[in-house]
């Protein structure tokens, strides 16, 4: 029969009493959201170190190394230029189609890569999770940081493309900054949501490519947004126009291009973007926090 050590302790207290008296806590306890946020802030150095480590270990195996951060967006744009600018030669009814297309591809690609790596943020770091204790939200945050940094590099390339294609620089370009901030908040929430979803339902990973493709066709990336306004009516149009990625793409186009037909008035787009960023940013964070104790188990 198992002997218990409780009898040895010489007290008649139940284990629960004893634990309470000495301030021990049950190891599966979830901490409150404000405290969790403070903890995350204390781990900010870990988050940035982890993001740096991820980038260097992903590119460390290649010969060109960090040069790929610049090359990837350039090649990406070149592919679309060759297909749409040279081979098909479409203008799609837009005055300056190449920058129009590239802005869409880059802005959508930002969120797409956040989704793709966010879904692996927990499942790809199980070793780290099982070995060390840190607030788990550090991992999706590090993903969001890596992708935001990559996107900043891509933005420089994008500015170049837009300039070469003959769009003038004007003060409106500054609108890129608030659009970027909103999209980063949106993406961070998305990364956290995806991280928990990916750790809970392994099957979702198989569906992501299809979901993302669907999302891309719904975001007016490869064709002008006027296609939607001309062909869709009623609830379908409302659904497409509420699409957060369509909103972000349109905001970037609005900031970087002259004479571009938008899906809605700038005020409407800005409001939608702000609402999406707030809802997804906060919602994703809370959703992730609620699963905090479950990561790396089982």
């Amino acid at each position: 029969m198992p002997e218990t050590a409780v009898a040895e302790s010489g007290t008649e207290l139940s284990a629960k009493e004893l634990a309470r008296r000495h301030g021990l806590s049950s190891s599966g306890r979830r901490i409150r959201l404000p405290e969790y946020t403070r903890q995350l802030w204390r781990y900010r150095h870990f988050i940035s170190a982890h993001a740096r480590a991820k980038t260097s270990s992903a590119l460390g195996q290649t010969n060109l190394g960090t040069l790929w951060q610049v090359l990837t967006p350039i090649i990406n744009a070149a592919v679309y230029y060759v297909i749409f600018g040279v081979v098909i030669g479409t203008r799609g009814g837009v005055d300056n189609f190449i920058p129009y297309l590239c802005i869409g591809v880059f802005v959508f690609g930002f969120t797409q890569s956040v989704v793709n790596s966010g879904i692996n943020a927990i499942t790809g770091n199980l070793g780290l999770i099982r070995a060390l204790h840190f607030p788990r939200a550090s991992l999706p945050l590090s993903v969001a940081l890596v992708e935001a940094r990559n996107f900043l590099t891509a933005l420089v390339v994008l500015f170049g493309i837009v300039l070469i294609s003959g769009e003038p620089i004007n003060p409106e370009w500054l609108l890129v900054i608030p659009a970027l901030v909103l999209q980063v908040v949106f993406n961070t929430g998305l990364a956290m949501g995806m991280a928990r979803l990916g750790s809970k339902m392994r099957d979702i990973k198989q569906l992501i490519p299809f979901i993302m493709r669907f999302w891309m066709y719904g975001s007016a990336i490869l064709y002008p947004v006027t296609r939607f306004t001309e062909h869709l009516h009623g609830w379908k149009l409302a659904l497409v126009e509420a699409n957060p990625l369509l909103v972000f793409v349109e905001l970037f186009r609005h900031a970087l291009m002259e004479n571009v037909v938008l899906a809605g008035t700038p005020t409407l787009l800005w409001t939608e973007a702000a609402v999406w960023a707030a809802v997804v940013g906060l919602g994703g964070y809370v959703y992730f926090w609620r699963g905090e104790k479950g990561y790396g188990r089982g």
Binding site: P2, E3, T4, A5, V6, E8, S9, G10, S14, A15, K16, L18, A19, H22, G23, L24, S25, S26, S27, G28, R42, Y43, H45, F46, A49, H50, A53, S56, S57, G60, Q61, G127, L128, R130, A131, L132, H133, F134, S138, K293, G294, G296, R297, G298
Partner: protein, 256 residues
Amino acid sequence: MADIEHVPTVIADNAHVIYKVRGGGKNNQSPLASLKKIVTRQKEANVREVHAVKGVSFVAYKGEAIGLIGSNGSGKSTLLRAVAGLLPVARGAIYAAGQPSLLGVNAALMNDLPGDQNVELGCLAMGMSPADVKEKKQGIIDFSGINERGDFSSLPMRTYSSGMAARLRFSISAAKLHDVLLIDEALATGDAKFRKRSEARVRELREQAGTVFLVSHSEQSIRDTCERCIWLESGLIRADGPTDEVMKEYDAFNKR
């Protein structure tokens, strides 16, 4: 018994741990068979439950080093993971002071990164400040002894032997004072010189008012570091007491 000496750090109250294993059972099912399972609503066929710890109660106090012994598959590692909060307790409860840290040989850091960067990352993940990390980094690398055969700390961790990697992981975890440190066979992997060094470090950690749990199949390292022993067999405690007595019973049991 003065209360100051007997401050409990870990309390297990009739703890049961049941974990689910995915992908167990029959593999290579045909798609048709999987579909049939979903349609007929058989509860996730490829998930099996393992009842690894079946009602364990003990109280660990400040300054104790407790050895966990038992044959393979008796639930020692599972119990440690439950104490660390990495596995949920199905019934009963486990209470702990602060956040127990589990140090296992199979806990991976980032294999593509060089050793010294892993040290930095590991220290930051334990909540140290960048200034602390800078200060302790060299000490950790020296302690692990990975640089004894040349400059290994700047090579990626995937090039390390399993012993070297385990030593580095132990050194990182041992660099911080833990309220409760759980060690899973980590000391067994190093060579004799490292074992001696790490046993000294475990004693140091214990003196600095922590509690250390040690799972090991090496009788010697349990005898050297622990004065109390818990013997687990098939998820139940068979004996709990001074190492000498428990070891004697355990040896007798194994000879049968």
